[in-house]
Symmetry: none
Subunit: 214 residues, 2 copies
DNA sequence: TTAAATATGGGGAAAAACACCCTTTTTTAT
DNA sequence: ATAAAAAAGGGTGTTTTTCCCCATATTTAA
């Protein structure tokens, strides 16, 4: 039987290499490559290397994080299934990862057998979620989420990220191709929505809600 | 040659099991047991089980963390060498761990070869520290006030925290019993020290360095 | 098909932040 | 003992942010 190719992406070498050994013991799977951040993923596929069926993707990584990398894969290599592998099960991150196109979400504290099971499930059914994760999603999803989570528009998000990067409104206006006055209007809208009274408040919100990841 | 017994303690099963596989490949070492928190360590030794020479100890764990467990080992099983295995290299944690009696401190993003080297070193010399860790310690000791880790004065820290709380300089001045002008001087000093160009930069620094916790 | 929301831009003014320049006193270190 | 660093305060500007109005298309929803 042909082996199923996998790529592991994680910035903690000790973990990724150890995981490499673990997955290699699963006779059905073959680790094609071990990468250490999202940037390396993009580079890997830019050089038309052999494509894996599944990518085990960490989330918090330097240079380019797992969410961005997953989004890139969805846009450029939609046939590859991303299985997120994270330390925490916080709702916001899970949702982001799923929206970015992840086919599953595993916590790092699971038993190796579950990893094997998850890999098999992703291969056959196309998706897999641990109980923990589905619980988190169920608890947050239907009615609760709409009130608690404030919905930001694309343009507002863009503005928010640029604000975090220490840009002035004039500079933001240039990047966003807007008049500085319009940028100011976005600020005001966000001040009200997020109930803050300064740019500092916006930055704290963005970091808390992981709109930007430090 | 007799194998050197090791116990792995880490709450992330996937990691600890994978690490188990990795260490088992090192012919000189033998993994006696894999435990998932400090409490289990205490329980293990309460039942007069076989004692390892080295314990690979994670720090952040539920029920009883790595620092507490290491302290317990120093008090009860001083001959066992603890090698800390952590995600971050923040100075405070390292110092705590070393005070608790750890013989070494490894970061999880190291290469497996370094782990092997560290295990050998701990076995022969009795201790091992990665370059990263020694750097952190050197920078924090009164010995070397280098440019890597920036030392902030008490008053500057106070100002920084108040800045993060969305206060204006006038408000900060009131809280700190200073003239607004002096507060501005603190701002300027920090801008230079931290190489930022706005209050936003200060906030990001404070959050990154965990001077404030969100 | 109206009404409402969205996206875009603006005026004017006050407040705050930022950037340089500076002095004096006290504390710390060599 | 003397030099250096820290702590406090100030002057005088410019730039940016903040606030509170407003206007006009375009798109969306009732």
């Amino acid at each position: 039987m042909e082996k199923i190719d996998i790529i592991i992406v994680d910035d903690h070498m000790l973990f990724s290499q150890a995981l490499n050994g673990l997955v290699s013991q699963f006779t059905r799977f073959n680790v094609l490559k071990v990468l250490s951040n999202g940037k390396e993923v993009v580079d890997y596929f830019s050089n038309s290397n052999k494509e894996p069926e599944i990518i085990l993707m960490d989330i918090q990584m330097p240079l380019m994080n797992g969410i961005e990398a997953t989004q890139w894969l969805k846009d450029n290599k939609p046939e590859i299934k991303v299985l997120a592998l994270s330390m925490e099960a916080d709702e916001v991150t899970i949702l982001k990862m799923l929206r970015a196109g992840a086919k599953g979400y595993l916590l790092k504290d699971i038993h190796p057998d579950i990893l094997l099971h998850a890999l098999n499930e992703v291969h056959t059914s196309g998706f897999y979620y641990t109980e923990n994760v589905t619980n988190t999603l169920l608890n947050s999803s239907p009615n609760k989420e709409s009130e608690r989570r404030i919905k930001l528009k694309d343009r507002e998000l863009e503005f928010l990220k640029l604000t975090v990067s220490e840009k002035t409104y004039r500079e933001i206006a240039e990047v966003m191709f807007l008049s500085p006055k319009t940028v100011e209007n976005y600020r005001e809208a966000l001040f009200e929505k997020l109930e803050v009274k300064s740019r500092i408040g916006l930055v704290i919100y963005a970091i808390k809600e992981k709109i930007v990841i430090l």
